[in-house]
């Protein structure tokens, strides 16, 4: 077991009072597994992901539960210890690729920093490694791309760069928070494919956060359905889709038009 989230509780401080946002979120994740975290927006998926990285917004606070990562409880871990885990053991890909890269720094600077921090590579070695990484995520003219600024690249390119950053230190866990929502349909498919490939090559575990259950079914082995700050159902993707136990899961599936048809094509596609 790589990760075990147990009865996680998160609250936000507002000027008036503490607002409980996550109540008893529990799930676990095996080495090399891809787990979907699915639910409508505002149910606490991103907050769950940020809790695991211990990077909640300043007014957010973990008020209970455990986050056992490699048998170590991340809740209450010192910030200096967390910093050794972030980027090296756990990393993340965010929703908007353009805004998740710093507009005032070259791609090179934003890719070598994590390598020189967590490995004993020199600046030069890191730069060579970055070029390899970019080739790996399908960017061919990597040598010119590293000298560019984010606004000179397309959204799809930026997301490839982000994926390269997230996988660069071969972490055990990548938290992908709606990584394709801001992209057009074709780029979306390419990015999903890329993430799947990177995951398989590195045997990485992924928490794939999305509001789109049909998208989750394309890449996830298991799906956890979240509703109002709780995990209401968790199970194998087929089971959750074809035999949903919870009322809310059924609602979620029914709200997607022609879902049955789409799922059939997916599973047919896998079998052939």
């Amino acid at each position: 077991m790589l990760l075990k989230v147990q009865d996680l509780k998160v609250s936000f401080a507002t000027p008036k009072r503490m607002i409980p946002t996550l109540h008893r979120v529990s799930f676990d994740l095996d080495y090399g597994e891809v787990l979907g975290l699915v639910g409508e927006s505002g149910t606490g998926k991103s907050i769950t992901g940020k809790s695991i990285l211990r990077l909640l917004p300043p007014n957010g606070m973990i008020t209970g539960g455990k986050i056992l990562f490699k048998k170590r409880d991340l809740v209450g871990l010192r910030e200096s210890e967390m910093r050794k885990i972030r980027g090296k053991e756990i990393s993340a890909v965010q929703q908007d690729p353009l805004s998740s890269l710093n507009p005032a720094f070259r791609i090179k600077d934003q890719m070598t920093d994590i390598l020189t921090l967590h490995t004993d590579m020199s600046e030069k070695e890191a730069e060579e490694h970055v070029i390899q990484l970019l080739n790996q995520v399908g960017i061919k003219d990597a040598r010119s791309v590293i000298n560019k600024y984010p606004h000179q690249l397309s959204g799809g390119m930026c997301q490839r760069v982000m994926i390269a950053i997230a996988f660069s230190c071969s972490p055990s866990l990548v938290i992908a928070d709606e990584p394709t929502t801001a992209l057009d349909v074709i780029t979306q498919a390419l990015v999903i494919e890329l993430m799947k490939r990177m995951q398989e090559e590195n045997n990485t575990s992924i928490i794939f956060i999305t509001h789109d259950i049909s998208l989750a079914s394309k890449i996830c082995e298991r799906i956890a359905v979240m509703h109002k700050g709780e995990v209401v159902e968790i199970g194998k993707t087929e089971e959750v889709l074809f035999n949903p136990k919870h009322e809310y899961t059924r609602l979620l599936i029914n709200s997607i038009p022609k879902i049955e048809k789409e799922i059939r094509t997916i599973f047919n596609g896998v079998e052939t």
């Binding site: 990077l55 990393s91 805004s99 998740s100 710093n102 507009p103 994590i114 921090l117 606004h151």
Partner: protein, 337 residues
């Protein structure tokens, strides 16, 4: 570069019109205020004929528009006329005083920038803490008094009461610094005269800080709010997700983005501080253009007055142009390197 030649042409035209406007306005204004420049020059016992002869010689008896046309013709040929009070070439006089003024203003801006940015960052990072509240209070105080009042407060506290810092002049009279750049801090350093440098530094401290306070307050506020915005951006989350140390994130990754709004402020504030320096120089006996201006007013030295005003106007117009240019270059897409 997103700057077209029509834009440059338009700006050039605008600059010329501003300069001419200021020259006409100044010319008329200085001649309608009471006081006779000729009477200031002659001895109390001079006869009426002598006075009128001098007036004729200086051209003050001619119609105003003729006087202006003559002045403007000289101005175009690069001549600002002769000072009545000092009997020296006005341009020479002004340029000999200009470095002192520029040194004061530039040091003020540097001081304000370093302090303002630092406390802005502290306020943003420790937003809501007691440190933030104290700094915000100081900023408010710094902003609520005009430059010259701060000057007087500092003279009383540091000069009269504590005798900690000199309150007049640029340097102790014992020191001899050969002018190279005209900036006494640089010249004393270049010539290796450390004692002179120390003295000059002590002399510039109070006037520079008096002048810097309002800018510190402005930078503090601007940087706090832009820093808070930047720290909430996704790319800062990315840096934290990587495990980068907070110090690097704040002072390298976030600061460069947060500084962009302050660049334009510095340009506008430069001209504002040029104006503020006039009275600060007067208060601290700083031998720059400001004190020269006071002398010119006092003696109704019209050519000198006009010359000083023209130099101030040229500096302001040129700075505005440069600021706009930097802004147009930076604005569409942020590219600082």
């Amino acid at each position: 570069m997103p700057v077209s030649s029509t834009y440059l042409l338009r700006r050039l035209l605008y600059m010329i019109i501003s300069i001419i406007g200021v020259s006409v306005f100044g010319f008329i204004l200085f001649r309608i205020v009471p006081g006779d420049p000729v009477l200031m020059m002659v001895s109390p016992t001079a006869s009426l004929e002598d006075i009128e002869a001098l007036r004729h010689q200086l051209g003050f008896d001619r119609p105003l528009y003729i006087q202006y046309v003559n002045w403007f013709r000289d101005f175009l040929s690069g001549s600002f006329g002769t000072s009545i009070r000092y009997n020296t070439d006005v341009l020479e006089l002004v340029t000999s005083r200009l470095p002192a003024t520029l040194e004061l203003v530039i040091v003020s801006i540097l001081v304000a920038f370093v302090i303002g940015v630092l406390i802005g960052v502290i306020s943003a990072v420790k937003s809501g803490s007691w440190a933030d509240r104290i700094l915000t209070g100081f900023s408010f105080l710094g902003f609520s008094l005009p430059h010259f009042l701060w000057g007087i407060v500092f003279i009383v506290i540091f000069g009269a009461i504590a005798h900690l810092l000199p309150v007049s002049g640029r340097i102790d009279i014992d020191f001899e610094v050969t002018p190279i750049t005209g900036f006494i801090l640089i010249d004393s350093l270049v010539s290796g005269n450390l004692a002179a440098f120390k003295s000059a530094l002590a002399h510039i401290a109070l006037p520079a800080i008096s002048l810097a306070l309002s800018l510190i307050a402005i930078l503090h506020r601007t940087l706090k709010s832009s820093m808070l915005d930047v720290l909430g951006e996704d790319y800062i989350f990315t840096d934290r997700m990587k495990g980068l140390p907070e110090r690097k994130i704040i002072f390298e990754r976030a600061l460069r983005n947060a500084l962009i709004p302050t660049i334009t402020i510095l340009g506008v504030q430069f001209t504002f501080l040029m104006g503020g320096s006039i009275i600060i120089e007067y208060i601290f006996g700083w031998p720059g253009m400001g004190t020269l201006l006071f002398t010119a007013v006092q003696y109704k030295d019209l050519p000198l007055l006009q010359g000083i005003v023209m130099v101030y106007a040229l500096i302001v117009v040129l700075t505005n142009f440069l600021v706009d240019l930097t802004y147009t270059i930076i604005n569409p897409k942020i590219e600082l390197r």
